[in-house]
């Protein structure tokens, strides 16, 4: 009984720290100004909507990967999936929760757009370096 209680409480704190961890990853890219290229490629003028996430991820797969972004993207991707699950289940009966998940998923999409922007810049650097040889 005690072990089950500890398990539930620790799962709740784990989820809370996970949400905050993902938000801190997203907050670290909040001050990034999007380049014109990424705005043209994605068709996103200033900020992304929740539905843009999957499309941006597909675009990211076309660019060379930056190793330093991998874990952050995996964590935020998992957060996006969890939010999607909440949206399809609990949020259907709670409109306030539905609005919150929508905002959070849009935040995930914005984070992905910033990473795409960095990947495009990284690709340019690689091409420029190859041009030097």
């Amino acid at each position: 009984m005690m072990a089950a209680l500890i398990f539930v409480v620790s799962l709740v704190t784990l989820l809370m720290f996970f949400v905050s961890y993902c938000r801190s990853l997203m907050a670290s890219s909040a001050r990034h100004t999007l380049s014109r290229e990424v705005r043209d490629v994605t068709g996103i003028p200033a900020s992304a909507s929740s539905r843009d996430f999957v499309r941006v991820i597909q675009l990211m797969r076309l660019c060379p990967e930056r190793p330093q972004d991998r874990t952050g993207l995996q964590a935020v991707g998992l957060y996006y999936d969890i939010l999607g699950l909440i949206e399809k289940t609990v949020a259907r009966v709670l409109p306030a929760l539905n609005m919150w998940t929508e905002q959070e998923r849009a935040g995930c999409a914005n984070f992905a757009v910033v990473l795409l922007d960095r990947r495009i810049a990284f690709s340019r650097e690689i091409i420029a370096q190859q041009g030097e040889f």
């Binding site: 072990a3 089950a4 409480v9 704190t13 905050s20 938000r23 907050a27 670290s28 874990t71």
Partner: protein, 231 residues
């Protein structure tokens, strides 16, 4: 000897602990996060020591059991000190450092006295039981303190990216460790559950290494975006 998967996780964890120290030296942050580095250096030292004792005396020997529990208690103590150093960092600007250190020592003494009180009736291997009990209780105190520290970070609108991510990774580690500990008690017959503790042990050095490598000391966050529900 532990199985090949368990050994692999052990070596991976040790390599990641060493990686944190190397990265923090490379990023010129060794002294800035001295107690975090000290914890990982002690962890690497413990791993080497345990491995030597294991290969000389075997897993079921008294020597290995003593080495395991004493080094575990020492590491938990080092992690507690690392956590207090993060507390001092967050509250540093308010000149609360002296009070934080005093409270930390009192809390540690209280935990030690409580642990002694729990095992005082036992007659066999009092010191080993004390080391085990102290370690378990300090983990619990660590979880509560990390939760408090996170509350302080949010309240003070902390912006230092490295510090925030160190604290969040520590919170994730303590929560996941407590969950795995409870799960072992609930369903220890499944071998995979017994591997969860060592796997989680790798996550703390991994996330801290990524943090120290990715963010500079000057990197800042937008504090309003840290809270899940805007105030």
């Amino acid at each position: 000897m532990p199985g090949s998967v368990a050994s692999l996780i052990w070596y991976l964890g040790t390599a990641l602990e060493l990686a944190f120290v190397v990265c923090s030296i490379a990023r010129k942050s060794f002294l800035r996060y001295f107690f975090l580095n000290l914890y990982f250096l002690l962890a690497v030292g413990s791993s080497v020591g345990r491995h030597l004792i294991l290969s000389s005396f075997g897993q079921s020997s008294d020597q290995y059991r003593y080495a395991y529990f004493y080094t575990d208690a020492l590491l938990t103590l080092a992690l507690y000190v690392a956590l207090i150093s993060l507390f001092s960092d967050v509250l540093g600007e308010f000149r609360f450092g002296k009070y934080v250190r005093l409270s930390a020592v009192l809390l540690l003494l209280g935990t030690a006295v409580f642990s002694y009180g729990v095992i005082a009736q036992s007659t066999e291997r009092l010191s080993t039981k004390f080391a085990y009990e102290l370690s378990q209780n300090l983990y619990f105190v660590g979880l509560v303190l990390t939760y408090l520290l996170w509350g302080t970070v949010v309240k003070l609108r902390e912006t230092r990216a490295r510090l925030v991510q160190f604290i969040l990774a520590l919170g994730l580690y303590f929560s996941a460790y407590a969950a795995s500990y409870a799960l072992v008690n609930l369903a220890s017959k499944y071998a995979v559950i017994n591997l969860m503790g060592p796997i989680l042990g790798c996550l703390l050095p991994l996330s801290w290494t990524i943090t120290i490598w990715r963010y500079s000391e000057e990197a800042r966050l937008v504090p309003a975006q840290l809270v899940a529900v805007p105030r």
